[in-house]
């Protein structure tokens, strides 16, 4: 199934990325490229996954890299409305348990708290791991 991605800026620096279809061995590149376009301007990225029906390990890797890139500049990502089969994949891989939310409302609550923490200096950028 082809991948379509809708991106819009909800408010300044807060982007909603809504993939529709499958993020697999081929389409993960499209996904990563589309998110790459907004990365520099994003403080937070909300991934609306209600129309994402499949993800492979390459897609998981892309999401993880995006998360790392955002954390390195004091940003965050949120994953919303994940379909049950895909939720299980995230749970098996133990990826991003703290970044998953059942609804946009829950994600918004977390986001308010996160941005408040950044403003107060309670949340700091995470440096990249040493590869040595």
């Amino acid at each position: 199934m082809p991948l379509k991605i809708a991106v819009h800026e909800k408010e300044k620096g807060i982007f909603v990325v809504a993939p529709s279809g499958e993020i697999d061995t081929e389409t993960y590149k499209i996904f990563e490229k589309e998110v790459g376009v907004i990365l520099a301007r994003a403080t937070a990225i909300i991934f609306e996954f209600k129309d994402m029906c499949y993800i492979s390990s390459m897609g998981l890797g892309a999401i993880f890299r995006i998360k790392q890139a955002m954390e390195q500049k004091n940003g965050t990502i949120m994953l919303v409305n994940i379909q049950p089969n895909i939720q299980k994949v995230f749970e098996v891989m133990k990826i991003l348990p703290d970044n998953m939310f059942a609804s946009l409302e829950e994600a918004d609550e977390y986001l308010d708290s996160f941005l408040d923490g950044v403003q107060k200096g309670q949340i700091n950028p995470k440096p990249p791991k040493s590869t040595s």
Binding site: G61, Q68, V92, M93, K94
Partner: protein, 138 residues
């Protein structure tokens, strides 16, 4: 439905051929009226096996092939994937979920295969993998 039915193919080592084969598999499995969960997990494990065979086994060499066979009967799906590479140390694949490995890309495919299928067996020095998914009809 009691007889085993099988879908078999020989794929050129090009990653872009994987989605087309997975579509064939989805259509093939429609007749077995499986749950969405079983279909999803089978498809994902198969994609991971094919990607690994092409990327790591055959080193993305398009002159090499990946042989794949998927057989299904009343209570199980058996998938066999064979590459033409030199094999790998399948006994020592790192756990990608540990803190030390969480950001490493390698190991996720095999890990998913082992956690989504009921049995995963590597043979022929790692060039051949057999995976089985058992089920009750939906």
């Amino acid at each position: 439905m009691s007889a085993t039915q099988a879908l078999e193919d020989r794929l050129v080592t090009r990653l872009e051929f994987i989605p087309g084969f997975l579509l064939k598999v989805e259509k093939f499995l429609e007749q077995f009226q499986l749950s969405q969960e079983i279909l999803f997990q089978t498809k994902l494990a198969l994609e991971e096996a094919l990607t690994n065979a092409m990327r790591h086994g055959n080193k993305l060499n398009p002159s090499l092939f990946v042989h794949v066979r998927l057989a299904a009967d009343k209570d199980r799906i058996t998938i066999e994937v064979k590459d033409q590479g030199e094999g790998f140390d399948f006994m020592h694949v790192e756990d990608p979920t540990t803190i030390a490995n969480i950001d490493k890309p390698s190991g996720r495919g095999v890990f998913l295969m082992k956690n989504l299928m009921d049995s995963v067996e590597f043979l022929e020095n790692g060039c051949f993998v057999r995976m089985i998914k058992t089920f009750d009809r939906a």
